[in-house]
Subunit: 312 residues, 2 copies
């Protein structure tokens, strides 16, 4: 099989579950993940190595990660807010850890109770882990910048500050960069502009986009990011992942619709939408009180349309 | 007030109501239209001059058009499937009539029971009306091409055929062109490509885009069309306008979210989203069994964001 032209990363198990109060059993999380993997999704953010007292949903993070690593196919990664979390994650055998800080000082303080300077210092500690064990030497450390396109606390976020933060991540040893529109503020032109510069700064290192569809522009932003050269996109099953700042509004962009967009653009994602249907069924059955979004699985593919993945 | 940078055209009263079985009273249609006008929408497709036996919802087309013309502000237009309809529309005093035919031969036959050649002959008859009365001399005749990006009957539609049809419309005297993705098949690159060529052929005559959000790509397609130079977009209140070929899937693109996209792109639409809320309330109250979509009115504008219309 040809490698995908674009990496779509499932974040339903992490970002999607982050605000879900009822604990989803570990085995259900893994069943959902197996369905995502079976559909051909090349990367899954499996969990968040945050203390259970902070987010109880992720009390089983080590078990989830170990279970995930037994599933064939996707690259398995996880989020870690600090060195301790990253260490716990790597101890399970994960080969990729994602670190996140907010460009907005106010949002970072609210989210992780640290200044952005303190968060960058913590990121240095995470990168330093690579030297601690021989088997950690080649792990991938991704640096994510939350609120890159605005923030519900500070409003506008200066794009120059975002680019300085991208530089800082790269200098400290980030292998990959993610820019996140955490609260769904961005419009396509700003996406195009900021990702264009970020892709240039990253100089060949992968750049991911993490979009929320809170204000309906998620897929328009994907197209703008594609034009800017981005080839990694986060999305969740049915758009799971409500935003605490916008009750009733949708969360992450919908994986199914993202895949349709990319395949219709002639880009091979490796994902079989019909097989992905099972992932959605598991998620919907497991979480009957959550909202699920998306249109392609209801409307069906255009008549005669052959996805790029099938043609590849 | 500065003229808008982009014309957003409300089609909820026409495309939105087309499949609604319960007759909406004329006065309710006009109240909805008054709310749309009060919000600053610069153009409204008011009704469809089709025989009542074909679509009963439009049995009051002449009354609706006359009522619309009494509302200050927007340019009022209507759809007409043939010469007779256009004549009836112009007799009410409307200054703009929209004609539609499908690029797909099979869809045109199913929709208006005519070959596309016969539809173009009918379009000539519509244009000829301009010579029939002195007061009709300056009316605007818009030619719309349905199924420009694919068709549920024939599948793929050849872009070269679309461009030949654009040429034919222009040669026969169309003042404006609309390309419609009637069934929500299009993806951004094909939008960019076909509209780029259409804008060139139109040589300064306005080009409109009519998108359905059946497969979630409506606003991504708007961004691509914007990049191609399109400055006219159809949309409906809350995305009203179910597609008969995709039960449960959304219809037109959502006016509210379209306006947010454009304003966030720095383009003045002239529309006040807070005032538009009343239009949505009227539509939702009138049609309790229809689905309404859209996120911006629930999520609210980004903190600190000043719409281009307010800055203008």
């Amino acid at each position: 099989m040809a490698p995908p032209d674009v990496i779509v990363r499932e974040v339903g198990l992490r970002d999607g579950l982050q605000l879900v109060k009822s604990f989803v059993p570990t085995e259900t999380k893994l069943a959902w993940m197996r369905a995502v993997a079976a559909a051909g999704v090349p990367e899954i953010e499996t969990t968040n190595f945050v203390p259970a007292k902070v987010i109880a949903q992720f009390a089983d993070s080590a078990d989830v990660a170990r279970g995930a690593l037994a599933i064939e196919g996707p690259l398995m990664c996880a989020l870690a807010p600090n060195r301790k979390g990253a260490e716990n994650g790597l101890a399970t055998g994960l080969k990729k850890m994602n670190f996140v800080l907010s460009v907005s000082e106010g949002h970072n303080l609210a989210n992780v109770r640290k200044s952005t300077d303190a968060s960058f210092a913590e990121f240095e500690n995470v990168v330093a882990l690579k030297k601690e064990r021989p088997e950690w030497k080649d792990v991938v450390i991704q640096g994510c910048l939350a609120t890159s396109f605005g923030c519900t606390i500070e409003g506008r976020v200066d794009p120059d500050r975002v680019l300085r933060f991208v530089d800082r991540y790269l200098e400290l040893g980030a292998d990959e960069i993610t820019l996140a529109d955490t609260v769904g503020y961005a419009a396509p032109s700003e996406i195009a502009n900021l990702f264009h510069h970020t892709v240039q700064l990253a100089a060949g290192k992968p750049v991911y986009a993490h979009f929320h569809d809170t204000r309906g522009l998620g897929l328009a932003n994907v197209y703008a990011a594609l034009e800017a050269g981005v080839r990694g996109f986060d999305a969740s099953t049915g758009g799971l992942g409500g935003c605490p700042f916008a009750p009733g509004a949708s969360g992450n962009i919908v994986m199914e619709d993202l895949v349709f967009l990319l395949e219709k653009e002639g880009l091979n994602t490796g994902v079989d939408l019909e097989k992905y249907r099972l992932a959605r069924e598991i998620a919907e059955t497991t979480l009957p009180n959550e909202n699920f979004y998306g249109t392609i699985l209801r409307a069906g593919l255009p008549k005669g349309f052959v996805p790029a993945s099938k043609a590849a």
